[in-house]
C-alpha cells in the first residue's frame, strides 16, 4: 500500500503510559500511511489505542503518556523531532483535529465567530476584524444557515449538529493538509451523522485534504474511507483497502466486528457479539492479543504473537491462521466464525 505521495507515514509508533503500576503500552508498534487526498479509517473498540495514536501524531499526549519509539513523517518532515513551538504552528494549521463531543469542545464563554477567528489570529496573525470576516466564510462553507447571526451565537445556542459543523469550521479554517477526525459523529443523532459525514467528505474533496477517521462504527468507515486499519489492544490486526476489508475480511476480530453489525439483506434473529472483553492494557496476553476471545484460537495463538503479514490480495493480517505455522484445523474465518463462536 505504498503510495508515492504520502501525506503522513507512521512507522512502528509506540506510545506508553508510565504509571505507578508500570508501563502501559497503549500503542504498540503501529504503522500505516495516509496517501495524499485519501482517507484512512482506524477502527477499534474503546481502549484499542486509536485515539492515543491520533494524539501521538498531534504530539498532544498528556502525562504520563510518552512516545517511546517509532517515526511519524508528515509530508516529508519528522514530526517527533520538532520543537514544541514548531508543533504549535502545525497544529490547527496543517494538521487539524475534530473531537467527538461537540457539546463540550467549544468554549462556552466565546462566540462561535470568536472561536473560528482564533485559528486565523494564531496562525495567520490576522486582526480580529479580518479574522471574523474569514470566519464568516467558513460558516458558509460548512453550511450553517444564516451564518451572519451564528457568528455571534454562543455554543449553547446551537444544536449538536450545528456545533459539530462549527467545530469542523474551526478545524478547517486554516485549510489543513491533514484532518484527524476522532469519532466525529458518535455523539450525534443518526440523521445528523449522515449529514456531517457527507459534509466532511465534500469538504475533503473540495480542499484536497487527507484524512484520518477514527471510529468504532464500521458503517461510517464504509461510507467515507479508502483504507482501513483495524486496531485491537494497541496493535493493528488488519490493514486493507476498504473494498477488500468488507468483502474478504481475514482477521477473526474484523469478521467478528462485521458480524456484529445489523444487516438489512439477511434475516437475523439475533446480532452476533464478540464474546469477552478487551484485555486490560496493563495485563495483555503473551500471545495474540485477541486469542482469549477468538473462537479459532489454538495453543500457538496463546503463546506467540503473530506478525502483520501481507496477503495475496494486499491485505495485511496479524493472524496465525494464514501462516505456515498454523496448528489448528483448516478454517475459513469469514464463513466458519458463527459456528465456531457458538461452540
Amino acid at each position: 500500500m505504498e503510495n508515492p505521495k504520502t501525506m503522513i507515514k507512521v512507522d512502528e509508533l509506540q506510545t506508553s503510559f508510565y504509571t505507578s503500576k508500570g508501563e502501559i503500552k497503549a500503542v504498540d508498534g503501529v504503522s500505516f500511511d495516509v496517501p495524499t487526498g485519501k482517507t484512512l479509517g482506524i477502527v477499534g473498540e474503546s481502549g484499542s489505542g486509536k485515539s492515543i495514536t491520533s494524539l501521538s501524531i498531534m504530539r498532544l499526549l498528556e502525562d504520563p503518556g510518552k512516545i517511546k519509539g517509532g517515526k511519524i513523517t508528515f509530508s516529508g518532515e519528522d514530526l517527533l523531532a520538532k520543537s514544541e513551538s514548531a508543533m504549535r504552528s502545525i497544529r490547527g494549521n496543517r494538521i487539524s483535529m475534530i473531537f467527538q463531543e461537540p457539546m463540550t469542545s467549544l468554549n462556552p464563554v466565546f462566540t462561535i465567530g470568536d472561536q473560528i477567528a482564533e485559528s486565523y489570529m494564531i496562525h495567520e496573525g490576522l486582526s480580529k476584524k479580518q479574522a471574523l470576516k474569514k470566519a464568516l466564510g467558513m460558516l458558509e462553507l460548512v453550511g450553517i444557515p444564516s451564518p451572519k447571526d451564528r457568528l455571534k451565537a454562543y455554543p449553547h445556542q446551537l444544536s449538536g449538529g450545528m456545533r459539530q459543523r462549527a467545530m469542523i469550521a474551526i478545524a478547517l479554517a486554516c485549510r489543513p493538509e491533514l484532518l484527524i477526525a476522532d469519532e466525529p459523529t458518535t455523539a450525534l443523532d443518526v440523521t445528523i451523522q449522515a449529514q456531517i459525514l457527507r459534509l466532511i467528505n465534500n469538504l475533503q474533496d473540495e480542499l484536497g485534504m487527507s484524512m484520518m477517521l477514527i471510529t468504532h462504527d464500521l458503517g461510517v468507515v464504509a461510507e467515507t474511507c479508502d483504507y482501513v486499519a483495524v486496531m485491537y489492544a494497541g496493535k493493528i490486526v488488519e490493514y486493507a483497502d476498504v473494498n477488500t476489508l468488507f468483502h474478504s475480511p481475514k482477521h477473526p476480530y474484523t469478521v467478528g466486528l462485521l458480524k456484529s453489525l445489523p444487516r438489512h439483506d439477511i434475516d437475523q434473529e439475533e446480532l452476533e457479539v464478540i464474546k469477552g472483553m478487551v484485555p486490560r492494557p496493563d495485563d495483555l496476553p503473551d500471545g495474540c492479543r485477541f486469542a482469549p476471545r477468538c473462537p479459532f484460537a489454538t495453543k500457538l495463538c496463546e503463546e506467540k504473537l503473530p506478525t502483520l503479514d501481507t496477503m495475496a490480495d494486499k491485505n495485511q493480517v496479524r493472524c496465525w491462521i494464514y501462516t505456515d505455522q498454523w496448528d489448528g484445523p483448516e478454517v475459513n474465518v469469514k464463513n466458519d466464525y458463527g459456528t465456531a463462536q457458538s461452540k
Binding site: M58, L60, D63, M87, R88, S89, I90, R91, G92, N93, S96, M97, F99, E101, T104, S105, L106, N107, P108, V109, T111, E118, S119, I122, H123, D149, K152, A153, Y154, H156, Q157, M167, I170
Partner: protein
Amino acid sequence: MAETTVNVSTQNTKRVNPQVENFKTMWRKLKTNRVAMAGGILILFFMIISVIGPWFTSYDPLLPDISSRLQGPSAEHWFGTDHHGRDIFTRIIHGMSITLYIGFVSVAIGMVIGVFIGIIAGYYGKRTDAVLMRIMDVFLAFPGILLALGIVAVLGGSINNVIIAIAVFSIPVFARIVRGSTLSVKNLEYIDAVRALGASDARIIFRHILPNILSPIIVQATLRVATAVLTATGLSFLGLGAQPPTPEWGAMLAAGRNYMWEHPHIALFPGLAIVAVVLAFNLFGDGVRDALDPKIKS
C-alpha cells in the same frame, strides 16, 4: 429550569453571552436576597461617602480645637469630639476613604498575584504546582493577622505597608481557590480543542481558562475586603498602621481607649464604623456566593 426554557425559545433573536447571562442570573437571585442587598447598598453608600463626604463636613479632621475637647454627641458634634477637640463625625467620614482604599487596593493586589500563582500551579501541575503551593501553604500556616503584623513590623508602620501586608496574606487564599478551579477547567474538552488548534500556553491560560473561573474569584474578593478592613484597622489599633493624626478608624479606636470609661463615644463611633463596613462586605459577599452557586436554588 425556567430560564433554560426561555433561552431555547428565544435562541434565534437574542445573543447572550453565557457569562453575562450567568451574572444576570446571579443578579436576579441576589435581588431577592434582602440581607445581601442591604449589604450591597451599604457598600455603595460608603463608597459615595468616601468620595463626596469630606466636602460636606464642617470641621477639619486634623486640626485640634482645645476649647471643645471631649464633648459628647450633640447637634453641633454629632458623634462628639475627641481628646484634641476634633469632630469625630468628620474624622470618621474622612477615614472612610482610607479604610476602603486599604481594603480594595490590598485585595486587588493579593488577588492579581494569587490568581496568577494559582492558575500557573493548576495549569502546569507537577513540580511547579508542588513548589508554588507548598510556599502558599507556608503563608497559610500563619494566622493572617500575625503574618501581617510581622510584615508591618519589618517594613515599618504606614498605610502602604499595611496594604502590602494584607496583600501578602491574601495571596495564598486566592491561589488555592484558583488552582482548584483551574484543575477542574483545564481537563475539559474545549481546552484540549484549543490546544489542538495550536494555541500557546499563555493563550490557553488567560483567554480560555481565566474567563471560566471568574465566579469563585469574585466571591472571594468581596469577602476578602471585609477581612482586609478588619486587619488594617487592627494593625492601626496596635499602632502599626496609619499613624496619628491620620483619621484612620483603628488609630481613632486606639486613641479613644484611654477615655473609655468617661467618654466612651470616642472609641464607640469608630468601632461602629468598622463593624458597619465589615458587616456590609460580609453580607454582600455571602449573598454573591449563594447567588453564584448553581446548587442553591433561590
